[in-house]
């Protein structure tokens, strides 16, 4: 190409040209740009759709994880009207440095803010918000707001008369934290950390740590599940890869049918099988392996989660292993045997190394799917088999601490995205196969 331009530029000063007299280089560039644009236009509608229904909601989640404005504004449940609240107290916080002893002005501002709060019936929301940072303070707000109209100067004494807990420096620190729109406190809480009265970050006492424990459990159980799916998936994939296609296609149905069956159906069947009055226990009692009073508790604990999730995720290991094993030529192993290797050595030194890409792809995919599992642990996990997803759902639906749920979800998301990036680097998402 370069040679052609060089020689032709000697003959014609404008360089090589197309039939309609444009320089070839420019025409080529224009046509390539057009092809690029065409390809992009085909993808554009879906990209816009995914941005709207997926990326934007994830963005909302991230925003929520650093912000809970219930101390700053009150939203009317029926009209959706937003009213700024706690304005007096927030102004006082702004004017005074952290750690300042709350004076009469502070209490006066608080009393005034409580009057507005009682009018809006927003004391419950504010109390809940502060309760996250300083546990056990919700009732202070509801109780004092009810009497807000009767409070008279000097306000400090009047408020402390209602409840002396108002003097607690932890509470004032919590209100100061809550008066800024953005905060990292939910991430701290999600990592079992908190701020002491001086604003230093400290670990919460060991007996009150919840989240780190659950992150750890999620990781350990996911590794265990990945390992069991590999142990069970490898022999099956090997068998399928070495049978003639007409048989392996038939047996493959046994792997694909669970893959196509509803997750809830599979979880339900494990509940039926593993219950203490269920099929497996009945079978064991009938066979005389265990006594009728010695039925094994296999469900509503970690064992239930591991068994059911291994079953559900097994096809995700078998399929990549199979697609890696199928093209491996048997002649390599035969060559190793003919050179004197035992069958075990030939397998270990010659066959196994060739399956490593499949093992990696399957293991990584199963691990990624396992850390985010929700439905199965929720139904068969009992309390000891719950994973981090279940805690996120708990904070969304029961405790209604949405910002903490969002912070936990963001941490989980960060972990999953790192693994996803790794998967794309090592395996490539183009190689993801579904049967």
């Amino acid at each position: 190409m370069a040679d052609m331009t060089a020689t032709s530029s000697g003959a014609a000063p404008q360089g090589l040209q197309t039939a309609d007299g444009r320089p070839l280089k420019a025409a080529l560039a224009a046509s390539q740009a057009r092809a690029k644009r065409r390809a992009f236009y085909l993808v554009a509608p879906l990209l816009a759709f995914i941005l709207l229904t997926f990326v934007l909601p994830i963005g909302q989640l991230l925003t929520r994880s650093v912000s809970d404005p219930r101390f700053i504004e009150n939203v009317d449940r029926s009209t959706g009207e937003v009213t700024p609240i706690m304005t007096g107290l927030r102004a006082w916080f702004k004017a005074n440095a952290p750690g300042t002893e709350p004076d009469e002005a502070a209490y006066a501002a608080l009393a005034q803010d409580l009057v507005l709060l009682a009018e809006l019936r927003g004391q419950g929301d504010v109390g809940t918000r502060i309760n996250y940072e300083a546990p056990g303070t919700r009732s202070l707000f509801t109780k004092t707001a009810r009497k807000a109209d009767d409070l008279e100067a000097p306000f400090k004494e009047a408020i402390l008369d209602v409840d002396k807990d108002w003097a607690d420096p932890v509470l004032w620190q919590a209100m100061r934290d809550a008066s800024s729109r953005y905060t990292l406190n939910f991430y701290l809480a999600a990592l079992d950390m908190t701020r002491d009265t001086d604003g230093n970050i400290v670990n919460v006492p060991e007996d009150r740590q919840v989240y780190l424990l659950l992150f750890k459990r999620t990781a350990i159980l996911s590794v265990l599940i990945t390992f069991t799916t590999l142990v069970l998936g490898f022999p099956v994939a090997y068998l399928l890869a070495n049978l003639p296609l007409r048989y392996s296609n038939l047996l493959m149905i046994l792997v694909l049918l669970p893959f196509w069956t509803s997750l809830l159906v599979r979880t339900t069947s494990w509940m039926v099988l593993l219950q203490s009055q269920g099929v497996i226990n009945d079978l064991l009692v009938w066979a005389g392996i265990i006594g009728d009073d010695g039925r094994i508790q296999m469900i509503y604990n970690q064992m239930g989660t591991v068994i059911a999730m291994t079953h559900i995720l097994l096809p995700f290991t078998v399929l990549p292993l199979y697609s890696v094993m199928r093209p491996i030529k048997p002649s390599y192993v035969r060559a190793a045997r003919s050179l004197g290797a035992t069958s075990w050595t030939a397998f270990r030194r010659v066959y196994l190394p060739q399956t490593v890409p499949g093992i990696g792809a399957g293991a990584l995919l199963v691990f990624i799917l396992a850390v985010g599992y929700y439905i199965t642990p929720a139904l068969v996990g009992g309390s000891s088999g719950q994973l981090i997803s279940n805690l996120i759902a708990f904070h969304m639906q029961n405790s209604l601490n949405w910002s903490l749920a969002a912070a936990l979800a963001s941490l989980l998301l960060a972990g999953v995205l790192v693994l996803y990036w790794l998967y794309d680097r090592l395996v490539g998402i183009d190689n993801l196969k579904l049967g």
Binding site: A35, V43, F54, L239, V265, V371, W402, V416
Partner: protein, 303 residues
């Protein structure tokens, strides 16, 4: 897989042990799905085989749990079973209403996912697509990101935009979850697509639209249809997003099952599960037939 003639005793023993191990793993895979089918015909409200069932006594079996699927929620289940009884069941029975919702949501989200996904897959499989890898990673991510995170994000987003509790919201969410499957299956079909066919069509005077519908579409159709089936199954089986963003009266089959399992599990759940297993057997068969057809068309048939 056949045992070589020169194998020694140890190798023989290991070979048969290995086959037994494989059989057990296949049993582990398939038994949980098969076992619920006979149990759903149990005449007693138990989750195990009664003695009558084991001795194949006909009184041990009954259709009563399938009957509850029809009668639950009806205004007058005791009436004689004539046309008005069936009309009542069609309009009021809880499970039938859930099934109707599931089918409506599944149908529209499948259409949306398949149309957008196929178009995008066509673009993604062109070599000149800019940022191909990144775009692909973004489009596949709904499959990888834990469903609880997607559902939480959608909950915040929908409650701000007023899409919460609407069919449009659920359909859009389910389409998002189904799109990765469509993209994966359609791009896999397009890998084997011979682009000189479209060029031949163009040289014979077909415009891009004609060439797409006459040449490309018939060849990638099996991939598109299996992608659509995947998307439908994803929506039909999805419960977490529905729990987070749907209104109380928007029941779907999985949501109804979820409630049934959590509150009080009765063999009626097993009857639903059996029906769903039969549906998935049908879908799997369809996908397998499509795959073979596609391989045959592209000359990859194993014979």
């Amino acid at each position: 897989m056949a045992l070589p003639t020169h194998a020694d005793t140890l190798e023989r023993v290991w070979h048969y042990t290995y086959l037994v191990i494989c059989a057990l793993i296949f049993l582990f895979l398939i038994a949980p799905i098969i076992i619920i089918i006979p149990l759903s015909f149990n005449s007693e409200p138990y989750f195990t085989f009664t003695e009558k069932m084991l001795s194949f006594d006909p009184t041990g079996y009954s259709m009563r749990w399938y009957d509850t699927l029809l009668t639950l929620g009806m205004s007058n289940p005791e009436a004689p079973r004539d046309t008005s009884w069936w009309a009542d069941a069609w309009a009021n029975a809880t499970w039938i209403r859930a099934a109707k919702n599931s089918v409506i949501i599944g149908f529209f989200s499948t259409i949306l996912a398949t149309a957008l996904g196929t178009l995008a897959a066509l673009g993604l499989s062109r070599p000149e697509m800019p940022f191909r890898r990144t775009v692909m990673a973004v489009l596949i991510s709904p499959m990888i990101v834990p469903i609880i995170i997607t559902a939480t994000g959608l909950f915040f987003f929908y409650s701000k935009t007023g899409l919460a509790g609407s069919y449009v919201g659920i359909i859009m969410a389910h389409a998002t979850l189904g799109i990765p499957f469509v993209i994966i299956t359609v791009t896999a079909t397009l890998v084997g697509f011979d682009h000189s066919l479209s060029r031949a069509a163009a040289s014979l005077g077909a415009n891009p639209t004609t060439s797409f519908f006459k040449i490309t579409m018939p060849l990638i159709l099996p991939g598109v249809v299996s992608g659509a089936l995947f998307a439908f199954v994803t929506s039909f089986d999805e419960v977490v997003v529905v729990l987070f963003v749907a209104a109380h009266d928007q029941q779907t089959i999985p949501r109804q099952m979820w409630a049934g399992i959590r509150e009080q599990i009765s063999p009626a759940i097993l009857a639903v599960a059996t029906i769903l297993v039969i549906v998935s057997i049908g879908l799997l068969t369809a996908v397998e037939l499509l795959r073979r057809r596609s391989e045959k068309m592209r000359g990859l048939s194993p014979g």
